[in-house]
Structure formats: structure tokens, C-alpha cells
Amino acid sequence: MKNKITSYFYEGENKNVVSLKHEETASFLIHDDSNILLDINEFNENNNVSFIIGNNSKLTLRLLVVNNLDDLNIKVNVPRGSKFDMIVADFSDKVEKFNTLVSLEGEDSEASIHLATLSKEGNKKKFNLSFDHKVGKTKSLIDCYGVSKDSSLIKIDGISHIYENANKADATQKVRVILFDKESEAIANPILKIDCNDIKAQHACAIGSLREEHLYYLLSRGIEINEARSLITLGYLLPIAQYFEEKDGEKIKEIIGGAF
């Protein structure tokens, strides 16, 4: 089946609170008043996945991406009083399109996306992470760390749209990418589309090579340049491992360690 999710695992207080329908889009339905932790580690190359979250529920979605993705489209609806957190650790060779649209549809709903991505050996990774604040008192966070090396590319578009009358909405976007060599590239577009006055919004973006004073500090303690670069870069990507179970966390550390 085209959109089949080949492997997923969830933890929750009641096994009947998640159901999966395989149609044109693979849809996960999260019942009201649920607290679900969902891991998806394997995708087909093309996937459309949607998450429909019930009222006053919490969904934490963890994606450890190691196989190539041509096209992954994730849609999430977050209703009143609900929370959605997505953690993406991307160590695949290719992410042609990774699109996420999170729609905050009820007051007091919250959502976050934490992304760590490593682009190496000429990889090209393209992410589009969007939030729609359709009503007021909604909160979103995009927090991305990337490392681009070996003539690779990372492109991150973060679009937070705050609709008219979405008073007291709060949107934050943070993107930081380290370029490991002169041939590598990163493009970050943290975009805020604001149609309401009474809101809070901030975006920050930092793309650059390793900070010279950090390297100098490590070198001054006898650490060689390549090891110093690796230490700093590991520090950029490794924190994502804390969101995963120990086994996947170790796998992430192994993959990152092997890349430097």
C-alpha cells in the first residue's frame, strides 16, 4: 500500500486511544484526554501522514529518520487544550521534501518541532515546517539544529502564520546551522506571517562556520583541530538524543560519531 507506515510503536495508558487508517493518507486518530508517545522509525519513500488529535490530549511524535525520504508530508490538527511535540532526528542520506503543517485550531493549544539534521557527502535536505495559529492563545516553537558538511545542503523554511483575531498567539522560530566547510550550504527562511496585532512572535537564525574562539579554547588545551571541530559539532546535534529512548539515543550517538 502506497502510504503504509511500516513500523510504529506507541506508549499510552489505553491501547485503544490510537487508531491507524491506511487510505490515501495514513491517518492516526488520537482520542480525547489521551497522552501518547509515538515512535515512527520507518517510512516508505513517499508518505502522507496525518494526525488528528482529540481535545485535551498530548501527542509526542518521535521520528528517527535513517532511510531516504523523497516526499514526506505530515499534517497535524491540534484542538483546544491539546499539545503536539514532534522530535525529528534526521541522519538519512536524502530528504527531498519534508513538509509539516501543524494547525493550531483551538485555544490553549500548543505545538513544537525540534529538529536535528546532518547533511553530509553531498546530501541535500529540504524541510518546510509550518504552523497555522488559527485562533488566539496558541503557542508554537520551531527549534532546529543542523550541520552541513562535505559540499552538502540544508534548507529550512519555517513559516508561522498568525491569523486575524488570533489574539495572544505566541510563535517562536530558532534555526542554527553550522557549515563545516566552504563548499557546504545552508538556507534558512524563518518567516512570520502576522495578521493580528496582539501577539508575541520572534524568530532567530544563525548560519556560520564554527566559532573561532570556541575552536581556539579547545586547541589551547591540546585538542587537535579535527577533534575540536567534532566535539563542537557533536554538541550541536547530540542534544536531540535526550528525547529518545536509550536504545535509539545510543543509535543516534553512534551515527553522529561515525560521521566525524
Binding site: E213, L218, R221, G222, A228, L231, I232, G235, P239
Partner: protein, 277 residues
């Protein structure tokens, strides 16, 4: 005896000459106090010795035990036995202190340190500088107080056991108890490991505790006078004005007009230009 010899050293930063012919020798086992007014080149000297890439040596020599330090990379200088305790140590998010310490120790050894030996050394050093042991699991200097950062520098000195340690205002930001702790560590390292010290400080209190054997005064990018510890007492009592009278040297005032270009934020970017009011 191991020694660090600086001969006729000229150093410039961004095209401006800061050091204008420095001559100085520090021997293993000595503690040399380096004094001088602000902005006259003391920190520049230490940075140039350690190989900070911002500082360009245009003339002169730095010799450590007959080896040309200027031909060494920064990490090679550390492995050769030089250590610099920074005035403002870098905060490096994501780099776990314990990983960094282990990497630094291993860089100074032929065989990697065994885990048990590493943690034992670390525990002992933490106790000596009075830092909690769980600090080693925190990111390097990230969120540390000023005093914690300075004690962390001394902790690294203990772990790396250098031949010559350079301390750049190690006492700034330390409370009375912390100054006593750091001083005890310096004295112990000097007496038990015979490490030579080049110490910059503006306060006699630190020097009273570590008892320098020599003192030198840097003015206008040069060492203008050297002597024993009585020189420290004289400067503590009289300041630097006597240098102008006795040595006939006009002390240049600290350059206050240069301001770095800065940029703030992503949306609101402002460049502060020189001379802009």
C-alpha cells in the same frame, strides 16, 4: 631547567601594534607577576604566547626549551607544556565538560587514560578547586558563574600539569574564599610540580597569597622594569605614576574610542560605526 624566553616580541591586532619589543624570561618553578596599567599589552602577550590567531607576531622570538614556539600550532603549544587560564573562558554549549577534559588529557598522553584513573583525577581536582563533581556533566562553562569559570580554568591546569602556566586575571570575579582556594592550588602546583607561572593581576591580595619570586611591569607594550616582589608592594601603594617620574616614560592612556562593530538580532540589525554618536 625549562624556561620560556620571549625576545624582542612585536605583536599587532587588526593592524595596530600592541607589543613593541617585549623581552621576558620565565623559568620553571618561578612565579612571575606581570603588572601594568589597563590596555598596555599584558593579555596580548599571553594570547600571543598561546597562539591566538587574532594576534599577529610581526617580529621576535618565543622559545620554550630551545624549541621555537612560533612554529607550533596552538594545540602543539599546549602539548609542549604551555597553559593559559583565560580571563573570559568561552562558553561552549553542547560540549560536555567531562568529554572535553578527557580529550584534553588524552592529547597530552601517548596512551589513553583509563576511565577509573580519569574519574579519580577529576574528583581530586574538583575537590581542590572546590567545584561540585556533577559540574563535569554540564556543558563547558555554559551557564557557569564568573567564579565557577575561573575555578574551572584552575581545574584544567591541575589536570594538564603544564611546565609554564599563564594566568590572566584569574582572581577577577572571585570572592575572598575562592581567591584563597585558587591561590592554594597555584602554590601547590608550583611547589609540588615545579610549574612556572606568569600571573597577571591588578590586586596585591592574590600576590600576597602566591608569593611571586619576580615581578615585571608592562607599559606601552614593553617591559619597562623588573624586580622582586617589592615592586608589587610599591605599585600597590603608589600606582604607576612613579614610572613616569623615575623612568621618564610617558604612560599612554587606554584607548577608549574604539568600539567594535556589532549587529543585534536578525530582524533589527544595527551597525555601530566608529565615531557614531
Amino acid at each position: 631547567m625549562k624556561s620560556l624566553k620571549i625576545k624582542n616580541l612585536h605583536v599587532e591586532v587588526e593592524g595596530k601594534e600592541i607589543l613593541k619589543g617585549v623581552n621576558l624570561t620565565i623559568n620553571e618553578g618561578e612565579i612571575l607577576a606581570l603588572l601594568g596599567p589597563n590596555g598596555h599589552g599584558k593579555s596580548t602577550l599571553l594570547a600571543a604566547i598561546m597562539g591566538n590567531p587574532r594576534y599577529k607576531v610581526t617580529k621576535g622570538e618565543i622559545i620554550l626549551d630551545d624549541k621555537d614556539v612560533l612554529k607550533m600550532s596552538v594545540d602543539e603549544r599546549s602539548k609542549a607544556g604551555l597553559f593559559l587560564a583565560f580571563q573570559n573562558p568561552s562558553e561552549i554549549p553542547g560540549v560536555v565538560s567531562a568529554d572535553f577534559f578527557k580529550g584534553a588529557i588524552n592529547a597530552h598522553r601517548d596512551n589513553k587514560i583509563k576511565l577509573f584513573e580519569f574519574y579519580r583525577s577529576l574528583e581530586t581536582a574538583c575537590k581542590e578547586v572546590n567545584l561540585p563533581f556533577d559540574m563535569v556533566n554540564r556543558n563547558l562553562n555554559d551557564g557557569f558563574s564568573g567564579g565557577e569559570k575561573k575555578r574551572n580554568e584552575i581545574l584544567q591546569m591541575i589536570l594538564l600539569n603544564p611546565n609554564i602556566a599563564m594566568l590572566d586575571e584569574i582572581d577577577s570575579g572571585l570572592d575572598v574564599d575562592a581567591i584563597n582556594t585558587v591561590s592554594e592550588c597555584i602554590v601547590k602546583q608550583n611547589r609540588e610540580k615545579n610549574t612556572g607561572f606568569l600571573v597577571i593581576s591588578h590586586y596585591a591580595r592574590l600576590f600576597d597569597l602566591i608569593h611571586p619570586s619576580k615581578a615585571a611591569v608592562m607599559v606601552n607594550g614593553r617591559i619597562v622594569t623588573e624586580g622582586d616582589s617589592s615592586l608589587i608592594s610599591k605599585i600597590d601603594k603608589e600606582g604607576y605614576e612613579w614610572i613616569e617620574k623615575e623612568l621618564g616614560i610617558s604612560i599612554k592612556k587606554e584607548d577608549q574610542q574604539s568600539m567594535n562593530k556589532v549587529s543585534i538580532g536578525v530582524c533589527a540589525t544595527k551597525e555601530v560605526l566608529k565615531n557614531e554618536k
